[in-house]
């Protein structure tokens, strides 16, 4: 099934900070305003707004209720996706493809400085058993996933540490990375010496939740070409949710991403992702998960994900989730970073000659629900 192309015509990513001085409404306003300005559009041009915030992350019910004005949604068709920003982008894409809307504003926002990220994630667990015993959390799930991966494919800790090091080095070049993770002189040994969160997962393999907001504007093919000379096209999208129970899943692989990628590639007409994809911006919750997702997206053989660092498609040139991990916005940021690469706007970390890129988002423990976008550059 070939789908109509949807264009990314503008975006804005706020500079992430550990504790932002802005109020939530101000942050959303800045991101949305910035996106409109980057595309040279006005508020009246927007026809629909898809917001991505989470009630439990915001500490209030109906978290989009008061964000109507800040998000430019006054008297606009507004809705909220309570997942990752990338899922909101997918919903924006549905709305554009249906023909009912001509310009969709999508934003994702969260402020982990206002809440405790790890404890709030406990609320995602099955309240009839897992939540009461409180043994599953992002650390232990990440640890088990990493052990399963290492055992299944005989991968060593060093190789995964190398991915983390690459993430930090890439972040150092990214002006929109969190200042605390810009470590250009970090070594594999530093990662392996860092504190154990949950064996074998170490502190430096796990991103720091930080405040941020990202906004992106989508438009149909015809309108995109009028708005900008360099639109980035969404040519494929796939999404999948696998089962929740960790005991049912093979954690060394990601079924959700495999199915999502299969669908996205089919839609975009990509038969050999290894050679066709130039840039991969994958939202992995840990360094190890980045490899699992890359393998599930068929960029490398199972267990050979670490070879991507030396050759093949560029894996997370922006630093990935390591550079700025904002819940609710991280997936959207990945799409924006991929779009930057395709437009040639990523100065220091530009991948030369990038034509096709993929960007992913996820929610749930061990990437339970994954979404993958295939993007293509060139007006």
């Amino acid at each position: 099934m070939k789908m109509e192309r949807v264009g990314i015509v503008g975006y804005c990513q706020l500079k992430p900070e550990l504790d932002m001085m802005m109020s939530p409404y101000e942050a959303i306003y800045s991101a949305v305003r910035g996106a409109l300005d980057s595309a040279g559009l006005k508020r009246k041009d927007i026809t629909t707004v898809v917001t991505c915030t989470n009630d439990y992350y915001d500490g209030k019910t109906i978290s989009n209720c008061f964000k109507v004005e800040a998000g430019g949604a006054y008297m606009k068709d507004e809705t909220k996706v309570e997942m990752d920003g990338a899922h909101a982008a997918a919903y924006g894409q549905y709305r554009i493809l249906s023909g009912n809307h001509k310009l969709a504003m999508i934003y994702g926002f969260s402020m982990p400085s206002c809440y405790l990220y790890e404890p709030v994630r406990i609320l995602e667990l099955d309240p009839t058993f897992d939540r009461t015993i409180s043994l599953i959390n992002s650390y232990t799930a990440g640890g088990m996933q990493m052990r399963a991966y290492m055992k299944a494919f005989g991968v060593s800790e060093e190789e995964i540490a190398k991915v983390a090091v690459q993430g930090y080095k890439n972040s150092a070049k990214n002006p929109l990375a969190l200042p605390d993770v810009k470590k250009s002189d970090i070594s594999v040994q530093d990662v392996l010496n860092s504190e154990v969160l949950s064996s074998p997962l170490r502190e430096l393999m796990y991103p720091i939740p930080c405040d941020g907001a990202t906004a992106m504007i989508l438009a149909p093919e015809r309108q995109s070409l009028k708005i900008t000379d360099t639109p980035v096209w969404i040519t494929g999208m796939g999404q999948c949710q696998e089962t929740y129970y960790l005991g049912d899943r093979d954690l060394s692989k990601s079924v959700s991403m495999e199915k999502a990628a299969e669908k996205a590639y089919k839609m975009a007409g990509i038969s050999d992702p290894k050679s066709e994809i130039d840039v991969a911006e994958l939202f992995g919750h840990t360094s190890c998960e980045e490899l699992i997702l890359a393998e599930a997206a068929k960029l490398a053989e199972n267990g050979k994900g670490a070879t991507l660092l030396d050759s093949g498609s560029a894996l997370n040139p922006s630093g990935g989730a390591m550079s700025a991990f904002t819940p609710c916005a991280c997936g959207l940021t990945r799409i924006v970073e991929a779009a930057k690469q395709l437009r040639g706007e990523a100065d220091e970390y530009q991948v030369s000659g990038a034509k096709k890129a993929i960007a992913s988002g996820q929610v749930g423990f061990c990437a339970q629900n994954s979404i993958l976008f295939v993007l293509e550059g060139g007006g």
Binding site: D55, I62, F66, M75, K80, E82, S98, K259
Partner: protein
């Protein structure tokens, strides 16, 4: 222009609603509705391409519960999208289902709205709508007493009573008019199998006999808190014709949002100076009717399901969404126009006033409207329904959803 897809509803399922569904957990509750829906549609669960769902998470203490409930939603290894917009969640989910099909990416989409309020603390949930706003008040010099007296009416019931005051002043509706709406809804609910408050013998006097909660709303006029779930299957025109006897085509959807009422962002002034003016509802109605090619809603709509936890809202909404002239609704209710055998039946399912499982409520409105067109509703109206409407509101009365459906596809727009 590429070929556009016409989405259609083929089946709706419910679980039994009650104040405490203590025999099931959230996942099993949803499962009941999903099974009801899939069985009635007579399809295999593998035919479902994607799932859209939503609820009000803060009322149940579970963040993104669809993650662990996925297997019970027939969504294993399938795309799943979660849409939550407060009271309008169900409506937003229906609309998300519509767009999933209309985009041409999925053929058969299962929409689910659910709520198990007996697990949680609805008061805290509702208060936390503006918790951030409340926390700022101490900086502004609010004392605890002032806060209690002023903010006690700031929650949903408060917003509704402000609305009621304004509406009653405008239309000269009396408390008896409000009670009449309640009586009509609860008597209707008694004939519908899945509803919560079934009161076949209730009278206006019974309602007016209860104490005030917040002037002019009385205890007997307020919606209950229910546990329940609703599921709906949306598919393409071609498939719908094969599967269903009478497919219900969704011809217009809109969800326009207004500024918040009563409290503004960061405690600033609220933009809605009159909470019963409802620009958002009028605009949503206009857009949805426009898409569906309806020019005279009061003549063309045969049946309406309106989201009204409080009786004054039912009177207000039917006017704002163009079914009655301004201030004429109370009289229409008096004359039985909106009754089961009236000219324009409204809320024959019993409405939100009788059953309010928040995340599901706004979906039960289009679902019941669709069932009336199919002729399969629990409380079926005697006349033939061709065009029907499902409406929802939520947030600080600033989020509105509209779903207009008909037994004929709308060719003009496609």
């Amino acid at each position: 222009m590429a070929h556009k897809v016409q989405p259609a509803i083929i089946s709706c399922g419910f679980c039994e609603h009650a104040s405490k569904r203590s025999d099931v957990n959230m996942a099993e509750l949803v499962n009941e509705a999903v099974e009801d829906c899939i069985t009635k549609a007579n399809i295999d669960w593998k035919d479902i391409d994607a799932v859209v769902n939503g609820n009000m998470p803060a009322f149940e203490g579970a963040n993104m519960p669809e993650l662990w409930m996925g297997d019970h939603m027939a969504s294993k290894n399938k795309p799943l999208l979660r849409v939550t917009t407060g009271g309008t969640t169900g409506g937003s989910v229906t609309i998300a289902g519509y767009y999933s099909v209309a985009s041409g990416l999925y053929d058969m989409v299962l929409c689910i709205g659910f709520e198990q309020q007996s697990c949680g603390d609805t008061t805290v949930g509702l208060a936390s709508v503006a918790l951030g706003e409340f926390s700022i008040f101490s900086d502004l010099g609010y004392t605890i007493e002032r806060m209690r007296s002023n903010m006690g009416s700031g929650a949903a019931i408060g917003v509704a009573s402000y609305q009621a005051m304004n509406y009653m002043r405008r239309s000269r509706a009396t408390e008896e008019d409000l009670a009449r709406v309640v009586v009509q809804n609860r008597r209707n609910a008694a004939k519908n199998w899945w509803t919560h408050l079934k009161m076949p013998t209730i009278t206006i006097e019974d309602v007016l006999d209860t104490p005030y909660i917040s002037f002019p709303l009385r205890f007997g006029m307020v919606c209950p808190a229910s546990d329940g779930a609703c599921a709906m299957l949306i598919t393409t025109e071609e498939k719908a014709k094969q599967i269903a006897d009478i497919p219900v085509y969704i011809n217009g959807v809109a969800s326009y949002s207004n500024e918040s009422a009563i409290i503004g962002i960061d405690c600033a002034g609220a933009g809605q100076t009159d909470p019963c003016e409802q620009l958002g509802a009028m605009k949503s109605a206009e857009v949805a009717y426009g898409q569906a090619g309806i020019s005279f809603p009061n003549k063309e709509i045969d049946y309406a399901e309106v989201y009204s936890p409080f009786p004054n809202q039912e009177l207000m909404w039917v006017e704002r969404i163009g079914l009655f002239e301004e201030n004429q609704a109370p009289e229409a209710y008096r004359n039985g126009v909106t009754a089961l055998n009236g000219e324009l039946p409204v809320n024959c399912s019993g409405g939100v006033n009788s059953t309010n499982a928040i995340g599901a409520s706004a979906m039960e409105r289009p679902a019941e409207a669709a069932l009336q067109i199919m002729g399969k509703a629990g409380n079926q109206v005697p006349k033939t329904v061709h065009t029907a409407l499902g409406h929802g509101w939520g947030g600080s009365i600033n989020l509105i959803t509209h779903v207009v459906m008909s037994d004929e596809p709308q060719r003009k727009w496609r």
